[in-house]
């Protein structure tokens, strides 16, 4: 490669840092939505680089469903401390109580959908005008069409038909009072790009991303971790398997994959070889309807 040519990861990184700086400059009260997953961990790394040697000039916000992996929570606290960022945690549990919401029922009762309420309350509480998220366009087809700066109305709703044209590297973050913008700095990254970046940058991850022994039940071909949040009935067999997680969401809706990959190199090699998409392999909730994500986004989801 030419002396003055960036490779693809460096180009993606430069683009993402540019986006982070636009957010810091254009908005009064931005926040980074931090889930403890590898995509938001990548966001933190990019934000760190964007504002070095200064600190990240906005808080990390975690919408805690109460169904998180303990390893992810421990990592979250460690990372916030490590980068010196303010960590704001708001619990779905509290929203359920305050707003008299009905807990979802069923075998893998997921609070995923209820997160939206807590998120919107948090946006209001802190008057957030921009929420930075780790969504990628390769994940899913509703995301493939979303802008990097995605304007949401007072109800947090996304209207795919009313998106602003997004030209060159010029981001229009102007909004009316009450509206907010969801910003996706790694829109153009694929799952493999994120993994390659984590490897290149030697970013540490929660331990559940690497092979470990775990008690699971098998449900429709997917391995679900045994936890107090799922219902185990007599037809289920609890097995101990050697697994790792490819994405980290709630314990109720994230499936593990069988794996012996214990290092980043091994994980990246497995991801390269896989023939199943990230969401297809690991997300239980996306299979419900073909347009599940489109619906959730329209209702204020990330």
């Amino acid at each position: 490669m030419h002396a003055h040519q960036l490779d693809y990861l460096q180009q993606l990184e430069a683009e993402s840092i540019h986006i982070f700086r636009e957010v810091a400059a254009q908005f009064e009260r931005p926040a980074l939505l931090f889930s403890g997953g590898k995509d938001s961990i990548t966001l933190v790394q990019l934000a760190k680089k964007a504002f070095a040697p200064g600190k990240i000039p906005f808080p990390l916000v975690h919408i805690d469903t109460g169904h998180n992996f303990p390893e992810a929570l421990a990592y979250r606290d460690w990372l916030a401390n490590e980068v010196g960022a303010t960590l704001i945690v708001r619990k779905v549990e509290d929203t359920i109580k305050q707003r008299n919401l009905t807990e979802p029922k069923g075998k893998f009762a997921s609070r995923n959908w209820l997160q939206t309420y807590t998120l919107l309350d948090t946006i209001e509480e802190f008057k957030l005008d921009a929420c930075i998220g780790g969504a990628r366009r390769d994940e899913e087809k509703a995301r493939a069409k979303e802008r990097i700066f995605s304007v949401r109305d007072d109800f947090g709703q996304w209207d795919p038909k009313l998106q602003r044209p997004e030209l060159w590297n010029i981001y229009n973050g102007r909004i009316h009072k009450g509206e907010n913008v969801r910003v996706f700095p790694i829109s153009n990254w694929t799952e493999l790009d994120v993994w390659n970046y984590i490897k290149t940058e030697e970013i540490s991850l929660p331990s559940i991303y690497f092979s470990h022994n775990r008690e699971v039940i098998e449900h429709e071909g997917q391995l679900i971790a045994v936890s107090p949040f799922i219902t185990i009935d007599e037809n289920d067999t609890v097995l101990t398997k050697r697994v790792r997680y490819r994405t980290v969401g709630d314990m109720t809706c994230t499936a593990a994959v069988e794996s012996t990959a214990a290092t980043l190199d091994e994980v990246v090699n497995e991801i390269k070889a896989t023939r199943i998409s990230e969401r297809g392999e690991t997300r239980i909730d996306d299979k419900v309807t073909e347009a599940a994500m489109e619906d959730r986004k329209k209702n204020g989801y990330f």
């Binding site: 693809y8 400059a25 040697p53 509703a142 493939a144 069409k145 304007v151 795919p160 060159w168 153009n188």
Partner: protein, 413 residues
Amino acid sequence: MDLLRFITAGSVDDGKSTLIGRLLYDSKSILADQLEALEKSTKNKENGEIDLALLTDGLRSEREQGITIDVAYRYFTTPKRKFIIADAPGHVQYTRNMITGASNASLIIVLIDARQGVVEQTRRHSIIASLLQIPHVVVAINKMDLVDFSQDIYNNIVIEYSKVAAQLGLKDVTYIPMSALQGDNIVEKSVAMPWYEGKALLNFLEEVELANDINLTDARFQVQYVIRPQTENLHDYRGYAGKIISGIYKKGDIVTVLPQQIETTISKLEIAGLEVAEVFAPQSVVIHLADDIDISRGDSIVKSDNLPATGNELEVLLCWLGDKPLQPGNKYLLQHNSRSVRAVVKEIAYKLDVNTLQQQEVNEAIKLNEVVKASIKTAAPLVFDKYDALNVNGSAILIDETSNSTVAAVLFN
């Protein structure tokens, strides 16, 4: 490994979705569960084989209306390159969508149906490619299977399109005969067209030279954000963060801050907190200057021996993207990279017919998807280049301050 961003222009009828589906499918970017979902959708439509076009099928609201709302982005990687496809639909709102998708593309695939040859839409897409100065053009002459893979038909289309390319000044044009449906000349060279001596599409996309697409001669930098930690150990730290728009900067370079017109020297360059000797486009960096100057977001730092234009009266080409019409006298916010200034559209000289490139007289308000030559006056000076000379510093957007919508793409003349 480097990165190629390209746009595909064409309508469903040209086989655009099939082409993209084929690229993703044959480059093994479609994973098993996505394929399974595809098979399911295809079965619903009762037509046997998997319909590759469904791979690029979007939202439910689109399926219900049978249209494509917007630009969708697709990703695939081969051992040689990473690709980002901006998949822009070809229906009525073509200009808005195409400009959105094309503004970051270094290559455009213009699809032609071999049975139709060069049609009005081909011309429109090519005109946008020329307006936005997309460096590389691939003319994909598709559906060759429906014309018996005829070399004569291919040759005639090449002759026909060459005239369009010459008229528009398109420089790097490559013609590839193909059948997206059957996979001819997409990933593998076609057995049915032994007379075609060029590369298959994917191979061409992997090898097209991109090194010259980024201008490394004219150094341009705009301040995005000022980093001032103001902590005890970084008390006097003041760094100007931004992306190198074009060119190369080195420590010690004599630079001018514009529009203030103050000369100083680069005292330090940083990337992610680490000092480096030089920086180049399109890196995101931090610049430190030797002198204490009042600099804020939107100001430019350029080399003193290579200055861009500075001014507040501009001749521009406007691609109108707003639903509300444009009339002379309208005021907007103009955003040029990170610099925002108030602007008024003073005069509209003529309208450009996007089918013929002819200049037309303007008798009424300018509507969505129209392209006009206009003069603009801004409340504060801009530091810019002509789009033709340096597009990354020659482009801006207009924002309607009442709706906050982006209503125009601005190309400086």
